[in-house]
Symmetry: C2
Subunit: 231 residues, 2 copies
């Protein structure tokens, strides 16, 4: 089996990506990043999900991006709630973490090189996260070129790195249908940027709103556990 590294947060998108890669026969090494995010409960869920899905391995790298700051996900800024579709579709949101996908892909690259993998998967999505510059196809292509110049593997010509973002052009509803077809139980996945410590979703942040709308558009029941007042 071909080994692959899958960036895996335990959210809806990366869990679907992991299931997608596994269904295509990759031996998946899931990589989670503990970057000081306020929604750290996702790391606990990721461990459970990686095991249930049958990943070959699940590692978590700790990196304290609070030393950088600059995002509502890591700094002491408020996570925006109940934004309109237009507001969400305009500009780069405050939940953007500076250079996050560059940092995460670099870590995935180092991990891949160590285990001899050349396939990197991530759940980047250009439709729902149009405001995140590091989810755009041109960024992923540029990173792939860089990866192929950055590594011992590339110098020695033993292989060529490929960045896979299978959800890149799917809507949230399409992702949910795809995951459902792959047999996923989305109740364990956590997308909320501001959950309770035990993982109940707030129901109002951008991520909750997109996810909720996605289930509605897919015509499927939303299995998310929300805080009591939001059910």
């Amino acid at each position: 089996m071909t080994p692959a590294v899958v960036l895996f947060s335990g959210g809806l998108d990366s869990t679907t990506t992991l299931a997608w890669a596994m269904a295509r026969g990759f031996r998946c090494h899931a990589l989670s990043i503990d970057y000081g995010q306020r929604h750290r409960i996702e790391l606990v869920r990721a461990t459970v999900l990686a095991q249930r899905l049958g990943a070959a391995e699940h590692r978590t790298i700790a990196i304290d991006l609070r030393a950088i700051g600059g995002s509502a996900l890591t700094a002491e800024l408020d996570v925006p709630k109940d934004r309109s579709d237009e507001a969400m579709g305009t500009g780069v949101p405050i939940t953007y973490v500076p250079a996050r996908n560059t940092i995460f892909l670099a870590l995935a690259l180092g991990y891949a090189e160590t285990i001899g993998a050349f396939d990197l998967f991530l759940g980047a999505n250009v439709l729902d996260y149009s405001g995140y510059p590091d989810c755009r196809p041109e960024f992923l292509t540029a990173f792939e070129s860089t990866a192929n110049l950055a590594t011992k593997a590339s110098t020695e010509g033993t292989g060529r790195f490929r960045i896979h973002a299978p959800l890149l052009k799917m809507t949230k509803a399409e992702i949910i249908r795809e995951g459902t077809a792959l047999g996923l139980d989305f109740s364990l996945t956590l997308s909320c940027y501001d959950p309770t410590p035990d993982g109940l979703a707030c129901g109002h942040c951008d991520s909750c709103l997109l996810r909720r709308k996605g289930f509605a558009e897919a015509g499927l029941p939303d299995p998310t556990a929300y805080r009591l007042e939001n059910r």
Copy 2:
């Protein structure tokens, strides 16, 4: 003053790079990475050096690359000692850390974005470290292109990131002469891959051999504090 982020380990090369950037009028924000390296004493030296050189700020990001492994600098592998010039010039050394410069530059990019800087400095050098793929000019150019697609700053068109590697084509002797001309006291810088806990250099790893040879070729006294048996 133009702000810049300088990747700064407290070694000979990155200290010269910091002095170089400061001499050219940049307001330097030094960034050290605590990546579980066995030569962690360099982080203590970096703090002292950044202050002495007058950096505007010095931050250290902790990231445990031991979760990835694959290098003598982070895993439980032996650091090679007393290698010949030919051996050092052949292949990628075991002290190569998978994707290290990609990871470090990604972190520098996130930091730069947070403080509004577009200039990133690193002490990469192609002559003495010809075996490290991520010190080559083509890698740095590729990373620069990626950086300009990766960020909010690049999306909003407020600036263009530049990667500066002023030592890229200098020999170790030239770097030492340059640093000396900039007024550096190299006795505080630590290059050794395998120092004692209090920072005495082993005198035998690749990095010590290159540094020692550099001082000899520059015709300058080597101020490095070596272990007693190596003086």
